[in-house]
């Protein structure tokens, strides 16, 4: 078949296109999964949150301002969705298990993989014991590597508040710190 009718119709060009944005989102998946696991306390719940986040981002792509950071925008969606879901669980009377840590699927073999799983489970469990506002502040700075300025901007809080939340998170986690 000839390109019937499409002879005068050029295919939409792919510059900065939908394909581009989809590709960027695939690249962002590891970081989104890490952030979501740290928020929810489990890799499986985190992945559900990431899927929801990606779908929402694409369905609402017009709300993203081109030229601004796609990663920040998606992290914000993830955080808001996480808060919304927690609220709706509370409303519907579903009680979240304390520290629902499950085994993530990790690559590698034998003891090393088991160690990695255990370490992640421990870490997720410890983070889950922090109030959300301390957890997200600590995660953005220590895991995502954001500066205090960027993390404060992301959370829309003063930098002093951020500093104090991180310090309090560290106090709370001190018992699990390795012995010097």
């Amino acid at each position: 078949m000839e390109e019937t009718g499409a002879a005068t119709v050029k295919h939409p060009d792919m510059n900065g296109s939908a394909e581009d944005i989809r590709g960027q989102m695939v690249q962002l998946l590891p970081r989104l999964r890490r952030f979501a696991a740290a928020l929810t306390g489990s890799v499986a719940d985190g992945d559900d949150l990431v899927q929801d986040t990606v779908e929402r981002a694409l369905k609402n792509l017009h709300q993203w301002e081109p030229g601004t950071r796609l990663d920040n925008w998606m992290f914000r969606i993830a955080k808001n969705r996480f808060i919304d879901t927690r609220r709706s669980h509370k409303r519907s009377g579903v009680i979240a298990l304390e520290v629902p840590v499950d085994a993530p699927s990790v690559t590698g073999d034998g003891a090393r993989a088991a160690d990695a799983r255990l370490m992640l489970a421990d870490t997720l469990g410890a983070l889950q014991n922090l109030p959300l506002e301390q957890r997200e502040a600590l995660v953005l700075v220590t895991i995502e590597g954001l500066s205090y300025r960027d993390a404060a901007d992301f959370l829309q809080i003063p930098i002093g508040t951020l500093t104090s939340r991180i310090a309090r998170a560290r106090e709370a986690l001190a018992p699990m710190a390795p012995e010097g």
Binding site: M1, E2, E3, T4, G5, A6, T8, V9, K10, H11, P12, D13, S17, A18, I21, R22, V26, L29, P30, R31, R33, R34, A38, D47, V50, Q51, V54, E55, L58, K59, L61, H62, P104, S105, V106, T107, G108, A113, R117, M119, L120, T123, L124, L127, V141, T142, I143, S147, Y148, T163, S164, I166, A167, R170, L173, A174, A177, P178, E179, G180
Partner: protein, 232 residues
């Protein structure tokens, strides 16, 4: 007398977030004060452990469902319309943007299209999809996928659709769905396996929607309500 550093200061020191002078002062203090030094070292180790705990997760292959979500979830129509700034196609005197133009098609018996009273109408699976399907159905079941639904300036219900070989716009009249615009997919000749990714709508259709839409496209509720009323 040096002031005793607060936990906040020490915490910011660990993150390298103090002004340079203050960073130096704390670093010097750690040597003199084993108690503070030990706390800082433990917290530094903890910081590394927390980040390290995620390294296997970061290196693991991405779950297919997440990759699919990124590659397949339809992109919002508003974003597509925003992309359409100037026509990148040549349109004779703007006439092609008015409803009623059909870009060439081979009419075959048993196809999704029929000519009735000189008008091209949807039939078969296309007609069924236009009558019954919702955008949220995607490619579920058989037949084309529905994109967006809206009211046109002349008060008719119109819906965009995507099939294997072409995308189009159909508007509802007394005698069924009249095809207002039909665009063949450039790669359609490779066979039925080709699908447009997500809802990447051809520019011509986007343009026709923007030129003819009255108000906003239907949200899921309005779409369902119109469907349940039989598009009348």
């Amino acid at each position: 007398m040096e002031t005793e550093p607060t936990r906040e200061t020490l915490s910011a020191f660990i993150d390298g977030e103090l002004p340079p002078k203050e960073m130096e002062r704390i670093a010097a203090l750690l040597a003199e004060r084993p108690d503070i030094g030990a706390w800082v070292r433990r917290q530094e180790a903890l910081r590394a452990d927390i980040k390290g705990a995620f390294s296997e997760l970061m290196a693991a292959p991405q779950p297919a469902r997440l990759v699919q979500a990124a590659k397949r979830t339809p992109i919002s129509w508003r974003w597509h319309l925003g992309q359409f700034t100037a026509p990148r196609i040549w349109v004779p005197a703007g006439a092609a943007l008015a409803l009623g133009l059909v870009i060439g098609i081979a009419l075959q018996p048993g196809s999704d299209f029929a000519s009735r009273d000189g008008r091209m109408m949807a039939q078969g699976m296309l007609a069924t999809a236009l009558n019954d399907k919702l955008a949220s159905d995607g490619y579920a079941g058989s037949g084309p996928r529905i994109g967006i639904s809206f009211r046109s300036h002349d008060g008719r219900y119109c819906r965009t659709f995507d099939a294997d070989a072409q995308s189009g716009l159909a508007c509802r009249g007394d005698k069924g769905w009249a095809i207002a615009l039909l665009v063949a997919h450039p790669q359609a000749e490779s066979g039925g396996a080709y699908r447009m990714v997500g809802s990447e709508m051809p520019d011509t259709i986007r343009a026709a929607v923007s030129a003819n839409i009255e108000g906003e496209p239907f949200d899921a509720g309005a779409e369902r309500a119109a469907r349940d009323r039989g598009w009348k």
